[in-house]
């Protein structure tokens, strides 16, 4: 009987410790690292947050809402250029719409890490065109006003985008 009571108390204690710990983790994970207290708590919680994939910022569409589109041009063996806008072929209702967009953002944001593999995959995909190189280009959106919309313009029209060449990847010789 005494053992049963102590086991109940111990269970209650363990459950209390867990809910307190997990709540602290949920609150600290997205908190800005500006204070010493948060940094100290984060250091203790970080392995738990990372291992269980709980380290989330919850900052949907903030602080900025950036618009950009990745396109690529392929140069074939004859020197001709072929342009592609991969997102145009995607279905809004399918999850690959977001997967491809995320991949394109990664290529544009960190070409040194991701562009070579992406280029190699595209060289293989377009092998029939006998590609020599793939050049990734980012179309970064700029301000588009209601007046522009009412005058029949489109946010991706040349006057509303800045074109940045991301990287050129050489295709392996066939």
């Amino acid at each position: 009987m005494i053992w049963y009571r102590w086991r109940q108390r111990l269970t209650y204690l363990v459950m209390s410790a867990f809910v307190a710990w997990h709540t602290l983790a949920m609150v600290i994970a997205p908190a800005p690292d500006s204070s010493v207290l948060v940094r100290t708590l984060r250091a203790a919680l970080q392995p738990y947050l990372t291992f269980f994939r709980l380290d989330n910022p919850w900052n949907f569409f903030a602080p900025t809402i950036g618009g950009a589109q990745l396109r690529y041009s392929l140069e074939d063996a004859a020197g001709a250029q072929h342009s592609f806008t991969p997102t145009e072929q995607l279905n809004w209702f399918h999850p690959d719409y977001l997967w491809f967009r995320d991949w394109h953002s990664a290529i544009a944001d960190d070409p040194e890490l991701y562009a070579d593999r992406a280029g190699a995959l595209l060289c293989r995909k377009h092998a029939a065109l006998r590609p020599v190189s793939i050049t990734f280009v980012q179309y970064e959106q700029r301000s588009f006003t209601p007046a522009d919309q009412l005058s029949g313009k489109h946010p991706m029209d040349p006057e509303f985008v800045r074109v940045n060449t991301v990287k050129t990847v050489q295709c392996p010789a066939p």
């Binding site: 459950m15 997102t87 995320d102 959106q141």
Partner: protein, 446 residues
């Protein structure tokens, strides 16, 4: 002497008060039904999402795909683990993906929930960490909700595990009832999930309040001009009536900031819950964020009060009316079929009567020798296949059988003769069943 004694008593009273408050916040005896709604929704959403990834499996998470293994291993934290880091042969990806999808399906229907939920969590984390470039809001919330579901005692209601548990009780006594599960730990896990949703909304609002584009009221306009969310019709409407942009922008912030503070009160919870669901429906319909919105709404289900579900169940039961199934208690096969059937009747809508021991005033014994009967509140009696066909759409636990019983023409064409054949051969089926499982108890004559 009285000073220290008073101080000790004061401290003890304070501690006892705090302890009571702590228990009230965290450890109230609660059913798991709100968490089960989340389990069903998250399981189903993951199943569909990752099933659609099958054609892209190696592109998204393979070593020859978008994210080279050496790149991800180079940028990862040592605590980031993925089963895919340890795979070598393509069949391992295929086998794991297949297992993961099966576990998502099992999680959704609540079959062997106590361990399949852990495989789903491991899978979700593994996919995220194998290719972190693909993760966005839905992956954050899915992993967070799955973790809480893993530590929670889910599978005790609205699940096949519950059906199995009820069946185990009814096998011993057909009229026996298994009391609904509730525990203090279920209450604590529901609270954790509620806090998770409130934290997500709070930080989402805070991050928006720190951004100029949200303060100025233009954020929603910008969202719809972005290539990924561009919609000509919506932009035309917003451009003509720009106040809608301001309203939607400030309304979003208002809901997100009010939610973590007002969702806890009994009187305001229905409104905040409705507002949050409305917000996510907008994200789904106008921005195409179907998966994200659905998983978020399922997370909000943790705020559904169990008594709301109880009232809903009672209202449904009242609307449908009582049904009485009359069966042959001398036929072991019939009794065991009834056990399975009743195990799915979570609301207890069906009453049973064994005509051998308790003859019906409505259906004669001669009729009962031919088929099972269902007696409705208005006194009508439906035989055999028609009885099942009537019950299936009216008992929520049996809705999964609707496609079988309601295929136009085909269901009746096949179902009636099949039922009649089983009914006329039920003695033979009972004896065959007994021969195949010699250990089973004879349930007849209940």
């Amino acid at each position: 002497m009285s000073g220290p004694v008073t101080l000790t008593r004061f401290a003890r009273d304070r501690f006892a008060g705090l302890s009571r408050a702590w228990s009230q916040v965290w450890f109230q005896d609660s059913p798991t039904s709100p968490l089960e709604l989340t389990r069903i929704g998250v399981g189903g959403a993951l199943l569909l999402h990752y099933a659609l990834a099958i054609p892209h499996l190696f592109d998204l998470w393979g070593d020859a795909g978008w994210m080279p293994r050496d790149v991800v291993l180079g940028i990862r934290d040592p605590w980031m683990q993925s089963v895919f880091y340890y795979f070598g042969a393509p069949w391992e990806w295929v086998a794991f993906h297949g297992l993961f999808l099966l576990c998502c399906a099992a999680l959704m229907v609540g079959w062997r929930t106590s361990w399949v939920k852990w495989i789903v969590l491991v899978g979700q984390i593994s996919y995220d960490y194998r290719n972190p470039t693909l993760t966005y809001g839905v992956d954050w919330i899915a992993a967070s909700l799955l973790f809480i579901l893993c530590v929670a005692p889910v599978g005790r209601a609205l699940s096949l595990d519950r059906v199995r548990a009820v069946r185990a009780v009814k096998v011993r006594e057909l009229d026996a009832r298994l009391p609904p599960y509730s525990s203090a730990w279920a209450g604590a896990c529901t609270r954790l999930m509620q806090i998770q949703m409130a934290v997500a909304f709070f930080y989402s609002a805070i991050s928006k309040l720190g951004a100029g584009i949200w303060w100025s009221g233009d954020a929603v306009w910008t969202v719809f001009t972005v290539d990924g969310y561009y919609n000509r019709i919506i932009l035309d409407a917003l451009a003509s009536h720009y106040w809608l942009v301001n309203l939607a922008t400030y309304g979003t912030i208002l809901i997100e900031i009010a939610f973590p503070f007002l969702i806890w009160q009994r009187s305001t919870r229905p409104y905040l819950l409705a507002a949050a669901i409305f917000l996510h429906l907008q994200f789904a319909l106008l921005m195409g964020l179907f998966y994200f919105s659905f998983v978020m709404i399922m997370g909000h289900m943790s705020f559904v009060r169990p008594e709301w579900l109880t009232r809903l169940g009672a209202a449904w039961k009242r609307a449908i009316g009582e049904m009485e199934m009359i069966y042959d208690g001398r036929c072991g096969f019939c009794v065991r079929s009834m056990v399975w059937f009743l195990a799915f009747d979570g609301l207890g809508q069906i009453k049973t009567r064994n005509f051998r021991t308790d003859p019906s005033p409505i259906v004669t014994d001669a009729q009962m020798e031919k088929a099972l009967y269902l007696v409705l509140p208005d006194g009508r009696a439906l035989p055999g296949f028609e009885a099942y066909r009537y019950v299936v759409p009216r008992v929520p636990g049996l809705w999964w059988q609707v496609p079988l019983f309601y295929v136009p023409l085909l269901s009746r064409l096949v179902g009636r003769p099949l039922y009649n054949w089983i009914a006329s051969h039920r003695s033979l089926l009972s004896s065959m069943e007994a021969a195949l499982s010699p250990g089973h108890r004879d349930n007849s004559e209940r």
